[in-house]
Assembly symmetry: C2
């Protein structure tokens, strides 16, 4: 019985995700959904990305259970920011397509090329909810350890792109990014894996190139 209910919720979510996908396509917008454990560096990556894109007709939808701390960190970029706080709508541990649909009402879509969605920090539940995005991206930070793709496989299976973040900490912590990469590949052989440190800038160029080329492909 519980499973039936869950399926209904997921079906309803999928329908709204399709509507979001259409809206992104009609407006030539690339939508990027960033997912990870708490503290894996999603906001830091966005901060560095908005710097590199120099605004670049981007907007951010910030998902958090509560607080506007992440939006405040990004406010200086002067890009449109919509904060979604799930505690005002039941305290969900993930974003759902309907929340993105509401957030899109707050944005002038014609003025945008890219929308970054920062999901709630959670390596499990967000992977179950399609938001209508073009690229699903997981971040796995080096301090979390190399075994995480094996222990939380759905996230790595669902994401086209896996970022190994906080690469600058790999050597000091004695962590092998190669082992993390091997474990991502065991779960998803087709995943594109990027190693980067938003702090030092190492590897950021490949990430920015990816976003730009995926935007161009979508609107070719």
């Amino acid at each position: 019985m519980e499973i039936k209910i869950a399926k209904n919720i997921l079906n309803a979510n999928e329908n709204i995700a399709e509507e979001n996908r259409k809206l992104f396509a009609e407006n030539n917008i690339l939508a990027v959904n960033l997912m990870s454990s708490p503290g894996a560096g999603k906001t830091e990556l966005l901060d560095a990305t908005l710097d590199a894109l120099n605004g670049g007709r981007a907007a951010v939808i910030e998902g958090d259970i509560c607080t506007t701390l992440d939006s405040e960190r990004l406010a200086h970029h002067n890009v449109p920011l919509v904060q979604v706080n799930t505690d005002t709508i039941g305290g969900a541990c993930h974003l759902e397509a309907s929340m993105i649909q509401s957030a899109l009402d707050e944005l002038d879509l014609e003025s945008l090329d890219i929308i970054f969605i920062e999901n709630v920090g959670n390596l499990v539940c967000p992977a179950e909810f399609d938001l209508g995005e073009d690229i699903a991206v997981s971040l796995l930070s080096t301090p979390e350890g190399a075994d995480k793709p094996l222990k939380y496989p759905l996230m790595f299976k669902q994401c086209d792109v896996s970022i190994l973040s906080k690469l600058d900490l790999a050597a000091p912590l004695g962590i092998d990014p190669g082992e993390m990469e091997t474990n991502v590949k065991r779960i998803n052989p087709d995943a594109l894996i990027l190693r980067l440190s938003a702090k030092t800038g190492d590897g950021m160029d490949r990430w920015i190139d990816l976003i730009k080329s995926r935007f161009e492909e979508k609107n070719a």
Copy 2:
């Protein structure tokens, strides 16, 4: 409607948690529920704890979505280990009281003083499910950042004990454990906060003392 269903699930969970609590009391067992984000160091803490207790009539219930990797890490302690893999029962992102009830069937309760429960790595959902434990413990690792108690408040509100883990990384990462502690206290002024590094052993004595004294209090 969704909220109603969730309430029914939580009520059912609470009833089974009460049964677990009774079973722990009847057998003079202290039950400890460890919760955190993925990779915050729950297994490493258990490893060091079992070393310090030298077995100590302890058992471990290992909660994971899948794999037996954590159980394998702890197998050398020769304490009873029960692995709960939630992907065999719907893929839940947290442990529920019913899973603990089933796991307890696998243990000889009369031979035990302490049961450690390692929850699924998730800073959100496990906090909603009482397992019948005596001590709810959250781990927050220094690389996750000081803002996490404010962004994921339920976990820190529900836990009697908050451990700031991976303390050895605070200085090299330029993270202020004092700020993390202040943020935990803002959410839960009564929380007992322990700073420790399971790797270096720093702070482990206070943690072990806490377990021993809570065991003695329960059975006084």
